[in-house]
Symmetry: D2
Subunit: 286 residues, 4 copies
């Protein structure tokens, strides 16, 4: 695991031009670091260049701060949006839940196996129901009941708590409340939601019921970043399962559960490994 | 093939009650026929019973007309909608196309292998482009260019031609015209369309472009019966394929072609084997 | 749930002949019961008929014993293998595990949701590792370490325990011991195993390593009934997932875990709902 | 399309070391070319580095020969296996067929749409059956009947013909003869086969029959490069489809046809776009 602790990951986007890969890989090589993985993409619709590069920092004497500073000149030259993360600096992720346990179960179990490169400092819920599950995994569980009149107030408390725990990102694991725009804008593209339909089909409430009534032959689940517009954020991952006329609404819900937890887990994995770049309404998954 | 020629297929729906399978299977057994396949379903939302039964007519001296008449009393008793088809009486199916050849290619190739239990007496198009393909398979090809002002007139001619060829059903194999309600109502649930999206997502024009702009990770295709409401008819079959940020609009179109032809072929196969019962906005596929 | 408690399920196979569906459905109707579901199949290779029928026992005054006796004459006439189960008489299923927890987690979680029509009276393991998980779900956990010299002795003790708990069937949830033939023959087609490959590819030990070395593009998992021949029993369910050259052996193991637990869960569900008939080396899944 | 005509594609493998991406991308940038796509991989089992890079040659005055020569020093320094292809220099691919038409149909239809970056100068068969299909697409069709005693002689004639047509690669589109080792060794990793099973399951003859008898729930198809050992070559692509007890051997063959043609088409596409690197018994698909 020691080599994992010394891995840097660059995510960068900038206007396309000749020689970008060369300049970025030269920056890495000039410091004597070895590239582990490099992947790039050009969006030909608007001539934007995207890259993810990871490299081994073995033997370096630079601090993470120095390393980031070392990249500033090149980043400016390229007029780039960029960030550098380090594998040993795990993202701090809060989980929001309500009453359904399947997504939380899945995340905590995989978390216990080390499948995600995250720390989960706390779980927040509007219901007390899943506390024992949190306890089983030794994670603090906070309850903030939400009512229309207290929503703003409760969100303020949640934000304070998230700040105190230095939370970088949030996973809505079937959290059944709509976050306010103020809240969402505090975590731009840092809130991952799971929607239980194949978006953009069946936006909003009760998508399984909608799917059942429409008589589709396939149901889906979609994980996306939360934006101000409900169920319209950039899609990270989707998957589907086949159904038939024999499947009643309950069967859709049951089969959908398996989709939801797998799709959400994959989205969280991509995000936690710094594989996702958001570009407008879309994502690039490296 | 001789046993195939002596197979009867019943499709029936009626209000649910005790003993339906027993009474229907007794009707078959009492005539000395052997059931090949039986499949039933009860829609618990409205207590409706559905059944498909096929049986071997070997050694029977009844004509198909007599056989149908023999079922009338039971059908009435059960207050049922029903039809009996015979495998050797192939459905007569017209294909409508425009300029894209992939769905037509697929259907004609499978037709030449005997995969569908249909006869294709003619192909109708609003463009002359695919005539040579029709000729290759020795199927008459008629061109009816469609303009706004002539649409009604042309549809009348098409209907006359379909009538003359005793056509039972129609496949729209990427036919790029919207049929008038008058036309559609002449073939209730007898017109099969292929829509190049995962309905109900991306209704209407340019679904691949819509999918590309939304940034979905999966695209689909949907085959459905045509009703008066565009892309709202009962869904027969759907399938999907995975895409990524690397796929440009052209790639979606290319990958979608493979979906469209397979999904349409499956829908036509189910329909031609009398496996489909329409129930409101949904289908039961036996 | 009350209607569920009064459901009978017949599984039957016999030599094919005319009128079987009629006679069986007449038996049900003559008692005033309503068929919920009927599904049949004929294996044309050896003229064998298979049927699964379930019906509602509402209002009946017969005991389950009387009901079974009532079917004996027809069963004999048809020269059939048959059994009748009742939904309210849940199958008693023991789980065998070793150290991997993913399949056990999945089964216990679904069990807690009521997804399987089973009771789990005990868990048996050759290691103490997963006891806390069993405790979390309040299921007794027994440890029988296995060594070559003590295997027979330990199996005897396990069999005694299974007998005491009136166990009907066993799930090997990644149990890493090979059961003796004596043991297997005590539960013919009543032991469900999960093998972590797409059988018959990669029989035996370390299938992921075999798959990795062969360079396949897809890995699979297979759930089957255990017979005397290793990994050769009748297959109940299989599924696959796509991999690429980027996936190292660890990734195959990780991705395979998700397959294993879903495939095993589906197999157990089919089995627990009396949907599986074994026919030689194959299964019919109704 | 003009930019397509000026694209170079490098495929390279060499012992891993620090700075490889930097040095290769610098080579490209130093000539003023813009990278379109770059993808790399390190096999950690034997420390081997693999890269595929494509770049735009717009405005260059170098010939393809000069360009290759320009890379020689770097290739030598890195102790690399490498080749550079140009999109406008299409690979010349011969198709071998026997009597089944589905794979040939698929390839020729996609070829007519421009989906593959190949030229097909000729089709070779051991039977005359598919000549009319070749004629429809205006491709010369040569028949070399194969018998045990004439096999060597016929293969010599085929090789002469392939040489005359400057053929780079061969697609066995359900060609039902086993090529001699001599023949195979003339086209190392340049012969693409489609095997109608999920390899390594069901090697050899009649895989669908083997699958049917084993009672699998999923069937597959595998496209691989041909080596001396039957069905053991490096796998390029695989896919599967679900079957059930209702599917008879004929259904497996019918469903398998759809798999075979799609899997073979994908393999040919990857190969024709220079996306495949062979590493021992495995492939890297960029």
């Amino acid at each position: 695991m020691s080599d994992q602790q010394l891995t840097a990951i660059l995510l960068l986007s900038c206007p396309d031009q000749i020689g970008l890969v060369a300049r970025i890989s030269k920056f890495i090589a000039d410091h004597g670091w070895n590239i582990i993985d490099i992947d790039e993409h050009v969006d030909i619709d608007d001539d934007t260049f995207f890259i993810r590069a990871s490299w081994n920092l073995d033997g370096t004497s630079m601090s993470t701060k120095q390393l980031k500073e070392a990249f500033v000149p090149l980043g400016s030259e390229l007029n780039a949006n960029w960030k550098i993360n380090f594998r040993h600096r795990k993202q701090r992720t809060a989980i929001f839940v309500s009453k359904y346990d399947h997504c939380l179960q899945e995340i905590l179990w995989r978390y216990s196996l080390g499948e995600f490169n995250i720390e989960i400092p706390l779980i927040i819920s509007n219901h007390p129901d899943l506390e024992s599950l949190a306890t089983h995994y030794n994670i603090p569980y906070y309850v903030f009941p939400i009512t229309k009149s207290y929503k703003r107030e409760q969100e303020e408390k949640e934000l304070a708590l998230l700040h105190k725990h230095r939370v970088d990102s949030i996973v809505l694991a079937r959290y059944m409340q709509i976050l306010s725009n103020d809240f969402v804008n505090r975590f731009p593209n840092r809130i991952i939601n799971i929607h239980h339909s194949f978006l953009p089909a069946f936006v909003g409430a009760n998508p399984y019921k909608q799917a059942y009534q429409r008589g589709v032959k396939i149901i889906g689940a979609t994980s996306h970043y939360v934006t101000e517009k409900l169920d319209q954020g950039p899609i990270i991952e989707q998957d589907i399962t086949r159904i038939s006329h024999r499947d009643k609404l309950d069967d859709l819900i049951r089969k959908g559960r398996d989709l939801e937890r797998l799709v959400l887990a994959r989205a969280l994995q991509y995000d936690s490994e710094n594989r996702v770049l958001v570009h407008g309404k879309k994502t690039i998954i490296f």
